[in-house]
Symmetry: C2
Subunit: 272 residues, 2 copies
């Protein structure tokens, strides 16, 4: 069984499938999300401890942004071979900087001996209107924030961008969007995931995608921009957020129109 | 640097040191705790997938109990070499059973490919009077719930007990206790940790410790009972909870009186 199969198995049981779980605590909608990262697949050798810390906070805080949430706190479980004061102080500086950017408390965690550097961040937030992946409706407009593909472009040069979770953007968009998620697994995979949850499809115009570098930027992921859909009538209500309209919601399939010719957009991207 | 050194480094920065972090969300006191477990140190070969799931939920839910909290939800990040439907269904059954015992929602998580089976559970709860480790005062009575050393005794026989987080007990005790924590690292280490946080010491009477099996049961851990201190005047107010009085809070040191002779109780136990 591959990851998608296993996720399906678990998601049937757990009703997951959005970027965060939504809990009711005293009438408040509380968001929770947890992410495992480890050396082999997530931390190339040239990442500094501070970048590793930033990245560990980023992936979870981006999930809070993706639901339109305001982050409250982050906890981090860290496993490593040998506790090293220099690594730990760089790592926690990176976590703190990303938390501080998001006005989120770094509230502690767990330390463990582990052969492979392994980090699990869990973020907690609140949202007035949590927006999941299931609400895209035929005729809605498809948009993305910022620029896609930068992470891919710089990764090849062994550079890692200090990307920011789109916290403010997510909250503003959440007031009007019908569906939203972050693009951490790449635009192509994200469209397929949102389509599956919404039981809908997408027609995207290649030339409208705000791509930095080549087409592969659609499949690489690690961008942390937001993908969202919004009813046509509400599009103009989204203010103070930089975004691009890239297509519209259709009945089924994920279609990429390029030079006026439509084709299927493959479901490939970042598999952790 | 060893684990305690690293924890000290991080705890200075993060003000951790209790079993959970306490957040304020809309006036509610929300508890969060995260724990990393992995095959090498936490899952002996003879544990079934269901036991691994139960244990993964147990350690975090016990931390909620240790602060006097009511669990709300648990999320689990799971890393394993090959996604295996049989393992996943046994594992999630174990998690669900432990959550269901605690009336807690198993709210989802993350799946990841990882060379070593690694599980990070994060539990969220609420508490009216969260009780930390720092409040033990000279003259307070020292108590433990249940029986200690069972886990140690059965571990040697390659048996693992389905231990229960002391959720109800923790909530009842929290109304009166000055300090509380769970005994997951063993009684000896737990006393030293509480002593350090409270800037106090303990005089414990060996014969009063509700030990199952030998003396080593004080050092093995994995018991998930609660250690707490309570002002003398409030001791009788704790009702509906089975517990033993084992000693009292003193100015400094951790002393074990045995056959009437006092000695130092070593700071050794479960180091993860």
């Amino acid at each position: 069984m591959d990851e998608l199969g296993a996720i399906k198995l678990l998601s049937r049981k757990l009703d997951i499938g959005d970027d965060c779980a939504v809990l009711d605590i005293g009438g408040r909608k509380v968001l929770v999300t947890t992410d495992m990262l480890h050396k082999k697949t997530d931390f190339p050798k040239w990442l500094t401890p501070e970048m590793i810390g930033w990245r560990s906070a980023l992936v979870s805080l981006s999930d809070i942004a993706a639901m339109g949430g305001k982050p409250i706190a982050l906890v981090i479980a860290l496993g490593m071979k040998k506790f090293d004061a220099k690594f730990l102080s760089g790592f926690s500086r990176g976590v703190e900087k990303c938390c501080s950017f998001c006005r989120c408390k770094y509230a502690g965690g767990d330390l463990d001996k582990h052969d492979e550097l392994t980090v699990v961040g869990t973020a907690i937030g609140v949202a007035e209107n949590p927006v999941g992946r299931a609400g895209a409706r035929v005729g809605d407009i498809v948009c993305v924030t910022g620029t896609l593909g930068k992470a891919c472009y710089y990764f090849k040069k062994r550079k890692w961008l200090r990307q920011k979770p789109r916290i403010n953007e997510g909250q503003k968009i959440s007031k009007h969007a019908s569906a939203m998620m972050d693009i951490s697994d790449g635009l192509a995979r994200s469209l397929h995931q949102m389509g599956a949850r919404s039981r809908a499809g997408f027609r995207i115009t290649f030339e409208k995608i705000p791509l930095f570098g080549g087409e592969e930027g659609m499949f690489f992921g690690d961008d942390y921009e937001l993908l969202f859909t919004v009813p046509k009538s509400k599009l103009r209500k989204i203010k103070g957020v930089g975004f691009s309209v890239i297509g519209e919601v259709v009945k089924s399939g994920v279609w990429l129109e390029k030079n006026g010719y439509p084709g299927k957009l493959e479901n490939k991207g970042w598999t952790h």
